[in-house]
């Protein structure tokens, strides 16, 4: 069993100092709008990923009027207890400790405490631009393969260097060809690595998403999912060469794996343009649950599931199926938030397993 058993929040968002115990594997968190449900889930997410699930600077998580925050967590993994601590110091320096040892690189932590969050804003995975979908794949792959995250970080650094180089070149109307060759070869090495890993992974992963979708939506909607990359048709090296003039003109790198996407189509039309709200939600859950299953298979234990406001998202029957799955079959510790205490409690009673109910 992998589970979070205790968490203490100090000066984190709306919490001055508060601690919570989770001795069961089903945890319901209820409270009015703005009472801190999402913040509590995000604190657990913080300990799993060393950062917020929202793209916000750490400093914004400090309670208004205070300096610094601290999140203390106790986790159970393979019957052993682990302590995780995330501290943002007064000077905004972040520290992360696992069993009293601080990491030199936060990326080392990723994947050791896997978790999957499903939150209302996540439909952006389907409705927004390609960046959201890359972020999803990257977050998942980083938890599965340690070297992936390292190479991705390196790729992004080299990309920034190359873009700055292009800017320089435009300003001076002249550039150092040898330096560009070096930057290209550095970018190529990392880019090809990431491309291969994404391709390999998505080959297996996307069919699983489809299967999940069919089981959630209860019918085959003629959905298709495909990994799209400029590298599918040309080598990265050719692409960089062909695009050099354009890159110099636009002062940024127009080709590479930072342009990758997942193409989602329904009956050969872009999914987000024709899919109903319900279909979108079903697909979102399909992505997340497939991610959960993949993590579970590869890690050998179930990641923690953080479900924020999911009751608002599905009709009653689907909701019942989903709860049955996450609370019983999944083998995971699951956190579920809702504004209605009764609704949560009724659902849990129906499931018939032990649960904690926490009111905020």
């Amino acid at each position: 069993m992998f589970a979070c058993r205790h968490i203490a929040l100090t000066q984190f968002r709306n919490y001055r100092f508060e601690s919570f115990n989770f001795n069961e594997n089903i945890i319901g968190i209820y409270g009015q709008n703005g009472s801190g449900k999402t913040n509590l889930l995000d604190a657990i997410y913080y300990l799993c990923f060393t950062k917020s699930s929202f793209n916000r600077p750490d400093a914004q998580s400090v309670k208004d009027g205070f300096a610094g925050f601290r999140i203390d967590g106790r986790f159970e993994k393979n019957k052993e207890e682990h302590k995780l601590v995330c501290i943002l110091r007064e000077n905004n320096r972040k520290e992360f400790l696992a069993d009293e040892e601080s990491y030199t690189r936060f990326s080392e932590h990723i994947g050791k405490y896997p978790c999957v969050m499903i939150a209302p804003d996540d439909v952006s995975l389907i409705t927004e631009g390609s960046e959201e979908r890359r972020k999803f794949i990257d977050t998942l792959l980083s938890q599965l393969q340690h070297d992936y995250l390292e190479q991705l970080i390196a790729y992004n650094k080299i990309l920034q260097q190359r873009n700055s180089f292009l800017k320089f070149a435009a300003e001076r109307n002249n550039y150092d060809e040898q330096l560009l060759e070096i930057l290209n070869s550095q970018l190529l090495e990392k880019g090809n690595f990431i491309y291969e890993r994404r391709q390999q992974f998505l080959n297996e992963f996307l069919p699983q998403v489809l299967a999940q979708y069919i089981s959630i939506a209860d019918k085959d909607d003629k959905l298709s999912l495909e990994y799209e990359s400029q590298l599918n048709n040309n080598t990265f090296e050719e692409l960089l060469q062909q695009n050099l003039q354009r890159d110099l003109y636009l002062q940024r790198t127009g080709t590479g794996i930072h342009k990758d996407d997942m193409v989602i189509e329904l009956k050969q039309t872009t999914f987000k343009n024709i899919a109903s709200q319900g279909q979108r939600k079903s697909l979102l859950f399909a992505f997340k649950l497939a991610a959960f299953e993949t993590l579970k298979t590869i890690k050998g234990f179930a990641p923690i599931l953080l479900l924020d406001d999911v009751f608002e998202k599905l009709d009653e029957k689907r909701m019942e199926n989903l709860l049955q799955y996450v609370c019983v079959q999944s083998g995971a510790q699951v956190f579920i938030t809702d504004t209605h205490k009764d609704r949560l409690q009724q659902s849990f009673i129906k499931i018939g397993k032990g649960y904690n109910l926490i009111g905020l």
């Binding site: 030199t104 690189r105 260097q161 040898q178 330096l179 070096i182």
Partner: protein, 205 residues
């Protein structure tokens, strides 16, 4: 902070310019000087002023020096055909402290990082290339930060001197995990200087 003397205040402000020195510490330093004989302060200011006025940078390796050529370059007991390429003066001091290196140095003044506005032109790369050609250097040891910019710099210089008959190695760069050479302790640094490896081996990691 309120002072009854603007002379004192000015002195405190000057000390407070140093990195890591706040007003409080600065005040302690100034009060310390006040307690002592006048001549000590005179000697102190004169030493500092002379250091800044008379210091030179070695024409060969860019190290700080009293003469046109630094004492390391001028030392005939050191292996003059071996150059250790470093980013800055602090790296030289760190490596010298290990007493494990008896070649010469070349201080680049940083690493290539377009993002920080540093291209090859801003660094002592051209002077290094010319030096290798002129002196027929036998081996170049890179001791640069273990990061992307360090890599870029190594590859770039490697490309520039590929036609010369100069062996290129790098010290095991894991030693300073993400930090500067100055943080590596003397023992590990000394050991890694002896167990250096060819660059291509390092690169394909």
């Amino acid at each position: 902070m309120q002072f009854s003397s603007s002379l004192l205040e000015n002195a405190v402000n000057e000390f407070a310019r140093f990195p890591g020195i706040g007003k409080k510490t600065a005040l302690r330093m100034v009060l310390h000087l006040l307690k002592q004989d006048e001549s000590i302060t005179e000697n102190f200011s004169e030493t500092i002023a002379r250091m800044r006025r008379d210091i030179k940078f070695c024409q060969r390796c860019n190290n700080v020096s009293d003469a046109d050529i630094c004492s390391i370059c001028a030392n005939s007991l050191r292996n003059q055909s071996l150059i250790c390429v470093v980013e800055n003066l602090r790296d030289v001091i760190a490596i010298e402290n290990t007493q494990q290196f008896s070649g010469t140095y070349h201080i680049l003044g940083g690493v290539i990082s377009p993002l920080d506005g540093i291209g090859p032109d801003q660094l002592q790369i051209e002077s290094l290339v010319q030096r290798i050609q002129k002196e027929q250097t036998e081996e170049l040891i890179f001791a640069l930060s273990p990061n992307i910019q360090g890599d870029t710099t190594i590859y770039y210089i490697q490309k520039k001197i590929k036609d010369f008959n100069c062996r290129i190695t790098t010290i095991a760069r894991g030693i300073a995990f993400g930090g500067d050479l100055e943080y590596a302790d003397e023992l590990t640094l000394g050991r890694s200087l002896q167990n250096r490896m060819p660059v291509d081996k390092y690169i394909s990691h």
